[in-house]
């Protein structure tokens, strides 16, 4: 019977296991995970899980499934707290320390780890926010009233900063670049979104690198390139992630910004597929190679990779218009498509005005709509996702935007829509 092995017991790995059973796979399944924990959801770790609660208790930990559901109902053998240490694709074996686990079909979903700042890892009070354990430690520090410095004004850093603010502690964000989020949203919108911090009373220092993180056993201060000294009890490092591919050294898989695979999530090595944050795949929906770092792609790729691994003869390509969201203060930011564009145009709202309101920006590539960003635009964003998937022209998208903005303005003015 075909033995499906899934390495990485998080979102993509869980969805791989569930999709295999749903597709009728009745052979053995082994799920290998480096963490002791059962699979859990990461987006809440920088949002709801860091929220202040009425009674001061910790919010529920965001585990996806019960242990018994995985082992009994889905019939999965769990190998947790044990990282895979090697892959031998000729023998079709995954090594976990001394243990060798043979597979017929393999889905690799080892995700990504947050980058740290070398030399600071041993200081107490310095954290990344990637795992449940990280978030538990950060929550405890906020509860103790820690003066907080966030290094990196990307999405995770910004979310943690906005969560920290609610604890009433001092929060400063330090960003090396002149404008944050340029890679993810372009410079104009990066600047606009970053202004949310000042509006909510969080200090954001841009264009200033970190020279040193100092302290004896616990962190005491962060020193910036221009000599500024920021006293700190809690330092959050949010400077991006690196795909977890170290264990694949010598396996023959092609590694380049993650595991390189085709539109079927196939690595080119018989039986081996990749999914989630670790996969650099060809996205047929946008006609380009991408490595995603978002929930939706990880969930969908996990399922697609397992189905293809178990039935390669009928493999289906996986394409998507990428989507992510981020919650800062009381604002929801949503993005669909790709941010590398020939032009970014703000079609609704005014980031310079006092009130935040609704902002909508569209991204053009050639004469095609390629991306859209909204702030407080939950009613708008998915309409653009559908349009990007349909390949609508830039002009069509602009016309739609004008109609929607007029409708919204009329509604705000109290006129019948």
């Amino acid at each position: 019977m075909t033995h499906l092995v899934v390495v990485g017991a998080s979102l993509a790995g869980l969805r791989a296991v569930e999709a295999a059973r749903k597709a009728g796979h009745d052979g053995p399944i082994t799920l290998i995970g480096a963490e002791e924990h059962l699979p859990y959801d990461r987006p809440p770790l920088s949002k709801e899980f860091l929220a202040v609660t009425d009674d001061g208790s910790e919010p529920q930990r965001p585990f996806f499934r019960e242990h018994s559901h995985l082992t009994d109902e889905l019939g999965v053998e769990l190998v947790l707290g044990a990282p895979a240490t090697g892959l031998d694709p000729l023998a079709r074996v995954v090594h976990v320390g001394d243990r060798a686990i043979s597979y017929d079909a393999l889905v690799i979903a080892t995700g990504a780890d947050a980058r740290g700042i070398p030399g600071s890892e041993t200081l107490a009070g310095v954290h990344v926010v990637r795992s449940l354990d990280d978030s538990v430690a950060v929550r405890a520090a906020l509860d103790a009233g820690a003066r907080t410095v966030v290094i990196g004004a990307g999405f995770i850093g910004s979310e943690v900063a906005s969560s920290a603010k609610k604890w009433g502690v001092d929060v400063t964000i330090v960003e090396a670049l002149a404008t944050p989020l340029v890679r993810a949203t372009g410079s104009e919108m990066g600047h606009a979104i970053a202004s949310l911090h000042a509006r909510n009373g969080t200090t954001l220092l841009c264009g200033n690198g970190v020279a040193a993180i100092e302290g004896t056993t616990a962190v005491e201060r962060v020193v910036l390139d221009d000599g500024t000294v920021l006293p700190a009890d809690l330092v959050i490092v949010g400077i991006g992630v690196t795909p977890n591919v170290g264990w694949l050294a010598g396996s023959g898989l092609v590694i380049d910004n993650g595991i390189v695979c085709d539109e079927h999530l196939f690595t080119g090595v018989p039986g081996v597929y990749a999914a989630g944050d670790v996969a650099n795949w060809f996205n047929p929906a946008l006609g380009r190679r991408q490595r995603m770092e978002n929930w939706t792609a990880a969930a969908e790729q996990g399922a697609a990779a397992a189905r293809n691994a178990l039935d390669p003869g009928n493999a289906k390509s996986y394409g998507t218009v990428p989507y992510f969201w981020s919650d800062w203060y009381d604002v929801r930011i949503q993005f669909v498509g790709a941010p590398e564009a020939d032009e970014v145009r703000l079609v609704e709202g005014d980031p310079e005005s006092e009130a935040t309101g609704r902002w909508v920006a569209l991204y053009r590539e050639g004469d095609r709509l390629i991306g859209a960003l909204t702030v407080n635009g939950q009613s708008e964003i998915m309409k653009y996702r559908v349009m990007i998937a349909r390949g609508v022209t830039w002009d069509e998208a602009l016309e739609h935007a004008v109609r929607r903005a007029d409708l919204h303005a009329a509604k705000l003015a109290g006129a019948p829509a």
Partner: protein, 63 residues
């Protein structure tokens, strides 16, 4: 078949709207509005994708 929404879980992220716009729409307040709930055989696949794609696991199909 019907699609059911657990509104206590839904946070209006809207993935479902992009996969099945005839069924789901997020309104100006950021809340999900269910436009219809009866699913035909032709519509089933898009609804299944919405169920799988919802980050809060708020959707369910009732046979």
């Amino acid at each position: 078949m019907k699609v059911l929404v657990d509104f206590s879980k839904c946070t209006g992220l809207g993935i479902c709207e992009s996969l099945a716009p005839d069924f789901f729409e997020v309104n100006d307040d950021g809340d999900l509005v269910l436009l219809k709930d009866d699913i035909t055989d032709d519509e089933l696949q898009s609804i299944e994708e919405a169920v799988a794609g919802c980050p809060t696991e708020a959707l369910r199909i009732q046979v």
